[in-house]
Subunit: 198 residues, 4 copies
DNA sequence: AATGAATGAGTATTCATTCAT
DNA sequence: TATGAATGAATACTCATTCAT
């Protein structure tokens, strides 16, 4: 349960879109109002402040992210399959909602308020922790090579994912992110593979 | 030759510091003037506009980056050693000038002006191209495994580097970036290694 | 008869309290609604406008004041006793309803609307006239010295009362207004006393 | 030394005039700008904020008040003459600068900010203390009756002065304040007089 | 009798920039 | 080379009020 009204969700959606189009600088109350065909003060019926909108935006994003991570963890398959799901679904989410990349990469803009910054860090930390966990299990399983610390592998997987998405965004969503992510994952899988001949 | 006067460099330095401290929102003409103990109009003696400052900032950053990349390429050692130099020196530069991370991660803020956005893309593309080139050569050499496309390896190396630096920044520069980068590079090297038993 | 419904009285009461707490600036429809746990539009069921609330507030205050003055005038005792009653009961009313001081001393805030300003002047003028009347009678009686014009004595009595209450308010209601008013009245009485040895 | 620039004094003067005309509600940055034929932002070159203007206004008023009190205290004549000077000059100041009454009687509007409220209290307290001091000396001298505590006499003198000025203001400056103040002072003098026949 | 949604007009303040000196 | 004064446009936010339900 999000606890958000339909109108609140609508506002957040518009806000994300505006950020995607022109960065944080484009996210003004005026622009939100314009995009929704209402007056500026009307927004304040639904959110107490602009900060509140940003906070709700991050909270919603965080919830979705955690849901995805949790459902991937619940899968029956191997740990590697869980990792793959996480990687591909993450990319898939962005592919289906390109605007959402704006949220991830506007982290810096959120830096100036402690509450926003905390949320950002919390989102990153959670993803990090869960992926590291899966990797650790996969290493125990013998599914993933054990000659590298799980922290480094986590860093590589997430770093690769992020840069891939960032490039997609910088390119103006010019290539097929989903297809690309599948290929990149295949490469990652080869790197992670436990050496067959010990 | 940079073509920048001493005063211009000073302004850029202050601008970078301000961005590092409080993001793009903190980078105002007023703040620059304050930090330099001059009046706001005085800045316009040195730069035509704020955009000009940002542009010069990116240009300078780009030049330094390219210099580093070029000098690494000029090294006599193996291709892998060149890659290592690129990776470690990149991290080293940030370690010595933490403010500079603000420039890299404010990319999104630069998105709203095409000239700035172009510079950002150009910086990333150049690094990408050169690293891909080194990897290709290393693959030919037999220094790096050939079962993965060079584009993916480039993506992984740069993605890992970026995320490591980002975490360092988000942590408030809390850990030793240089030491961490050495350890991470070691792990990367193991992943890149050509399989010893053909 | 006040002609005010229970709900209207409630609104006025809340309005006075809000003014007492934070001045006229604190008296907003939003704050009234909040304090009463109803919605803003609901207030308009009971008053046509905010101005109407203020007007009713002043009217109510005026009625109470006049009632007090009239009942003091109806007393059987000496004129001086009537004056004393007026002085002490006035102070007593404030002592029991500290919020009410906000109404008296927000006169300036009411200045910007002619209807409100008129009410304020009317309240002051009435008190003035009645006190002057009592003094005149007391002077005739020989209860009060006759070497000073009744207008000046009125000014002094009311001025003293007002400043005493104002200080009480500025002090955050820190002293016992009722006790203080008794002592001050004793002093006033000594000043007003007809010279015993003519 | 005030430490205020000519422009700052001008702004304060305009601000006082606006308050005199329509209360605190009339004192907006827009109105100040309009009255000075400059733009709103221009004001911020001279004062950091609106609060700053109000604070400077009170500080200036306080300084003038204290100067007057001090110079009256420095007079050679009797204590009663000093009191008279204080009373008449106070009234005279208002008579010559009717707008200034707005400052005194907007005390309530200043109540909502602690710094402003403190200044108000400080102004009142200082005048109070000095007048009480003069009265005490005059009582020792035998110039003023000693059967009343100096605090009560102070309250009466200041209260009378304030209410007189307030009425002048409410009347739209309709009577001659200076003449009235002389007559009222004569009455006060008679009340204060030490009884001639001991 | 009451509300959720909305609004036009206004609030203080900030920003990059210009201009006369 | 630098500044003091100024500005148009924008910013987040508030206010009393209206209207359909």
């Amino acid at each position: 349960m999000t606890g958000l009204t339909a109108r609140q969700k609508e506002i957040i959606e518009v806000a994300v879109k505006l950020m995607a189009e022109g960065g944080i600088q484009n996210l003004t109350m005026k622009n939100i109002a314009h995009a929704m065909n209402i007056s500026e003060p009307a927004i304040y019926r639904h959110f107490e402040s602009k900060m509140d909108i940003l906070l709700s935006m991050l909270t919603q994003f965080k919830q979705h992210s955690n849901d995805h991570l949790r459902s991937a963890r619940a899968l029956n398959g191997s740990r590697l399959a869980q990792l793959e799901t996480i990687f591909l679904e993450h990319a898939g989410r962005f592919a289906n909602h390109p605007h959402m990349t704006a949220v991830v990469f506007s982290e810096e803009a959120f830096q100036d308020d402690p509450r926003l910054a905390d949320q950002v860090v919390s989102i990153m930390t959670t993803a990090d922790a869960i992926i590291a966990e899966v990797i650790a299990e996969a290493q125990h399983n013998g599914e993933i090579r054990t000659d590298l610390p799980k922290e480094h592998l986590t860093l590589m997987i997430l770093g690769t994912l992020r840069l891939m998405v960032k490039r997609w965004r910088l390119s103006g969503y010019a290539f097929d992110l989903q297809q690309e992510s599948r290929q990149v994952w295949n490469s990652l899988k080869m790197l992670l593979a436990a050496s067959s001949s010990p």
